[in-house]
C-alpha cells in the first residue's frame, strides 16, 4: 500500500514536472510582450509579406492560429505535442522532430558512453585508492582527481582538439562521421563513429571522473572500516568475496542515483560540448537555434533535455528500492 502510493507519487510528480515545463515554454513564446512570434511577425510584415501569409507561416511554425483564444491555442499546442509534433524549424525548414530524431542518438551515444566510463573508472580507481589509503598512489590520484575536476570540460576539449586533432593529426577535430562514411550496419561506420566520439568523450570523462573517483574512494574507505567487514574477515570469508559482496556492493550503492542523474545533466552539457567539437547532436542544434533565434527548434530541444532529466530522476527513484534492500518504499532516498 505504502509502496504503491510512493510509485504513484513519483509518477504524478514526473508527469507534473514535464507538464509545467511545457506550459512555461508555451507561455514564454506566446505571452511575453514582444515575444519571438511577435518579432517574427513584425519582421515578416516589414519585409512586405502579406498579413494572411504571415499568419499562415506562424501557424505552421508553432501549430498556432493567432486568431484563436489563448486557451484554444494552448489546447492545440498540447495536442500537437502529444502527437509528437514540435513544429517547424525556422532555420532548417524541417520539422523539429526530424532534426531531433536525427541528432538525439548521437548525443545519447556520447553522453551515455561518457557517463558509463566515468563510473567504471570511478569505481575501479576509487576502490584501489581506498585499499591503498595513504599510499603514494592514493595521494597522487587524489591530487590528479581534484585537478581534473577543476578543469571545465570545454577547456580540456579545446586542448585535446589542438593536440590530437591539429598537432598530432591523430583524431578528427569535429563532426560525427567522415564525409565519405554512410550510416549503416558496417564495421567502417562503427569505427568511424567511435573515432569521432573519442575526443568529446575523453574531455567529458577526464573532467567528470575526478569527483566520482573521490566519492567512491570515500565510500569504500567507510565500508572497509565498518564492523561488518571486520566481522566478515573474522568469519574467514575469502578476500574476493569480501571485496565484491561487502566492499564494492555497499560502496557503489550510494552512487547509483548520481549515475542516472548525471546522464540527464550531461545531456544538458552537450550544448557546449557539441559546439566545441562541431558534433551535430541535439546540443549542437540547440546552439545553432539559440544563435538564429530558431524558437521552435530551441523549445523542442529544451523539452527533450528536460524530459530526459526528469526521466533519469524518475527511473532512479523507482529502481533504487530494487537494488538496495534497505529502501523498500524509497522514503529516505529520493534522487531529488
Amino acid at each position: 500500500m505504502r509502496m504503491n502510493s510512493y510509485y504513484l507519487k513519483r509518477t504524478v510528480r514526473a508527469v507534473l514536472t514535464v507538464w509545467i515545463v511545457i506550459t512555461i515554454t508555451f507561455g514564454m513564446i506566446r505571452l511575453l510582450p514582444g515575444g519571438p512570434l511577435e518579432q517574427l511577425r513584425g519582421k515578416l510584415l516589414r519585409q512586405g509579406v502579406s498579413p494572411s501569409r504571415v499568419n499562415a507561416m506562424i501557424e505552421s511554425y508553432q501549430n498556432v492560429q493567432p486568431n484563436q483564444s489563448i486557451l484554444e491555442q494552448y489546447y492545440e499546442y498540447m495536442t500537437a505535442l502529444l502527437t509528437g509534433d514540435l513544429g517547424q524549424s525556422f532555420l532548417q525548414k524541417e520539422p523539429v522532430t526530424a532534426i531531433i530524431g536525427d541528432a538525439l542518438p548521437w548525443t545519447v551515444f556520447v553522453m551515455v558512453m561518457s557517463t558509463l566510463l566515468i563510473f567504471v573508472i570511478a569505481i575501479g580507481w576509487g576502490a584501489l585508492m581506498a585499499y591503498w589509503e595513504g599510499s603514494t598512489f592514493d595521494l597522487v590520484s587524489s591530487s590528479a582527481s581534484i585537478l581534473f575536476a577543476a578543469v571545465p570540460f570545454y577547456v580540456l576539449g579545446i586542448v585535446l582538439i589542438i593536440v590530437f586533432g591539429y598537432q598530432l593529426e591523430l583524431l578528427p577535430t569535429g563532426h560525427r562521421l567522415s564525409p565519405t562514411v554512410e550510416p549503416g550496419l558496417s564495421l567502417l561506420f562503427v569505427l568511424d563513429a567511435i573515432d569521432h566520439a573519442i575526443l568529446p568523450i575523453t574531455s567529458m570523462v577526464l573532467t567528470g571522473a575526478g569527483l566520482q573517483v573521490l566519492a567512491m574512494r570515500g565510500n569504500a574507505i567507510q565500508v572497509l572500516g565498518s564492523d561488518f567487514v571486520r566481522v566478515a574477515r573474522l568469519r574467514g570469508l575469502s578476500d574476493r568475496r569480501i571485496s565484491v559482496r561487502y566492499v564494492a556492493r555497499n560502496a557503489i550503492l550510494p552512487m547509483y542515483t548520481g549515475f542516472l542523474t548525471l546522464i540527464g545533466f550531461n545531456l544538458g552539457g552537450s550544448i557546449i560540448l557539441e559546439e566545441v567539437f562541431s558534433y551535430p547532436g541535439i546540443g549542437y542544434y540547440m546552439f545553432q537555434a539559440l544563435e538564429a533565434r530558431d524558437y521552435p527548434l530551441m523549445m523542442g530541444i529544451f523539452l527533450i533535455i528536460t524530459v530526459a532529466l526528469v526521466m533519469a530522476v524518475y527511473i532512479a527513484d523507482l529502481t533504487y528500492g530494487l537494488i538496495d534492500p534497505r529502501v523498500k518504499s524509497g522514503d529516505s532516498r529520493e534522487a531529488y
Binding site: D227, F228, L234, L237, L253, P325, R326
Partner: protein, 354 residues
C-alpha cells in the same frame, strides 16, 4: 545466583582452555601500550567477565584472543589455545590459513553493535551460508543447526533467516549474531560489549539466554563489558582491568562482596546498587591514563588514596588474596579497611549485593 562451586573447588592447576601469557599490544612502534603484559588463564566452560572502563584495554584483550588486533597494533606474548586438555596451539604463531580455521570454528567473537555486524545488503541466511562455505562445512546440517540455535534464542528461524538485517530489531539482530557466531560449533565465545546498545530488559534476557547456551553447548564464554553489575550476575569469575592491565581477578562473588584492589573498590562505590542509597555513590576520582602516559610503578597511584613511595616506583605483582583471588596491589590489606564500601561487606560468597 551462586557460583558454580565445581569450578572453584578444582585444584590449582585447573583445566585452562586459553592461556594468555605476558600479552601486550603496542602502537607507534612500541611507544604506547594498549594492553600491558596481561596473563590470564580462561578455564574450560567458565563464563569470565572482563570489566573495565572504556579505554582500559579490554577490547584489545578480546581481539588478541583471536590474533585480530586492529592494524597497525603489534601483538606480543603468547596465547595458547587448548582444544583438549593436553593439546596446545600457539595462536600467535599460526599461519593465515590456520588462523582462518581457528577463528569461528574454535573461538568465535561477537562485537558490540550487532546492527553493524551484518552486511546490510544481504539476508541473514546468506551470512550463515557463506560462513559455512568459507569453512567447508556442510551447508545443510549447518543451516539445521542455525535453525536450532535461533530457536534456542527464542527467534522464529524462518522469519529471521529470510530477513535483511534492517528488518530485525536490535535485540533480534543481536541474537541472530550470537547464533551466527555459534554455527560452526566453537568451544569459546568471546563477546565484546554484546549488549551495550540494547535496553535493560533486552540485556537481561540475552544474559539469561547465554547461560542456557553455555549449558547446552558446553561453551566457554568471555564476556567483556564496562557494566559491572550486568556481568556480575552472569560470570563465574571476574577480571577487572585498569590502564591496560589486570588489577584484580577472582570468583565473581568474592570480587563483588570482598573487593580488594583500591580501584575495584572505588569502581563498586561508583556503581548503583540496591543496598546503598544514591547519595552514597561516588565517582572514581581523576581520569584513567591515556596509552602514551601510563604512570610509572602502579598505574593507579595518582588516583589511589593509599599510594606510597613504593607504589610510585615499583610495579605491584598479582598477589594472592585467597587461592583463587588475586589483586595487583602492595597494600590490599589496608584497602579493605581504609576504603569503605557503600554497601555491606559480607566476606561470604553469598552476598545479597546481586
Amino acid at each position: 545466583m551462586s557460583i558454580s562451586s565445581d569450578v572453584l573447588n578444582e585444584p590449582q592447576d585447573r583445566d585452562a582452555i586459553i592461556r594468555m601469557d605476558d600479552v601486550s599490544v603496542t602502537y607507534d612502534s612500541g611507544d604506547s601500550y594498549v594492553l600491558d603484559d596481561v596473563s590470564l588463564a580462561i578455564e574450560r566452560n567458565e563464563i569470565i567477565g572482563i570489566v573495565g572502563e572504556s579505554g582500559s584495554g579490554k577490547s584489545m584483550l578480546a581481539s588478541s584472543l583471536l590474533d585480530a588486533v586492529p592494524d597497525p597494533g603489534q601483538l606480543s606474548g603468547s596465547v595458547e589455545y587448548r582444544p583438549v586438555q593436553d593439546q596446545n596451539v600457539e595462536v600467535l604463531a599460526l599461519e593465515d590459513s590456520e588462523l582462518r580455521a581457528l577463528r569461528w570454528e574454535e573461538i568465535s567473537m561477537v562485537f558490540q553493535g550487532a546492527m553493524s555486524s551484518f552486511n546490510p545488503t544481504m539476508k541473514i541466511k546468506e551470512h550463515f551460508i557463506e560462513t559455512l562455505e568459507a569453512h567447508n562445512a556442510p551447508v545443510e546440517t549447518g543451516l539445521n543447526r542455525a535453525h536450532e540455535l535461533l530457536e534456542d534464542l527464542y527467534l522464529k528461524p524462518g522469519r529471521v533467516l529470510g530477513s535483511y538485517p534492517h528488518e530485525l530489531s536490535g535485540g533480534m539482530q543481536q541474537r541472530a549474531l550470537i547464533a551466527l557466531s555459534l554455527v560452526l560449533e566453537p568451544d569459546v565465545l568471546v563477546m565484546d560489549e554484546p549488549t551495550a546498545a540494547l535496553d535493560l530488559l533486552m540485556q537481561q534476557s540475552i544474559l539469561l539466554l547465554l547461560r542456557e547456551l553455555r549449558e547446552k553447548y558446553d561453551l566457554t564464554m568471555v564476556f567483556i563489558t564496562h557494566d559491572l553489575p550486568l556481568v556480575a550476575s552472569l560470570a563465574d569469575r571476574l577480571a577487572v582491568m585498569y590502564a591496560f592491565e589486570l588489577v584484580e581477578l577472582g570468583p565473581a562473588s568474592e570480587v563483588i562482596n570482598t573487593p580488594t584492589h583500591p580501584y575495584t573498590r572505588a569502581l563498586l562505590n561508583a556503581t548503583p546498587n540496591l543496598n546503598a542509597p544514591l547519595s552514597e555513590m561516588r565517582p572514581v576520582k581523576g581520569k584513567s591514563p591515556a596509552p602514551i602516559n601510563v604512570p610509572s610503578g602502579c598505574s593507579y597511584h595518582p588516583r589511589c588514596p593509599l599510594d606510597t613511595e613504593e607504589c610510585r616506583t615499583n610495579h605491584p605483582p598479582a598477589d594472592p588474596v585467597t587461592p583463587e583471588h588475586t589483586a595487583a596491589c602492595f597494600h590490599w590489606e589496608e584497602a579493605r579497611t581504609e576504603i569503605s564500601l557503600n554497601y555491606a561487606e559480607t566476606g561470604t560468597n553469598d552476598g545479597d549485593w546481586r
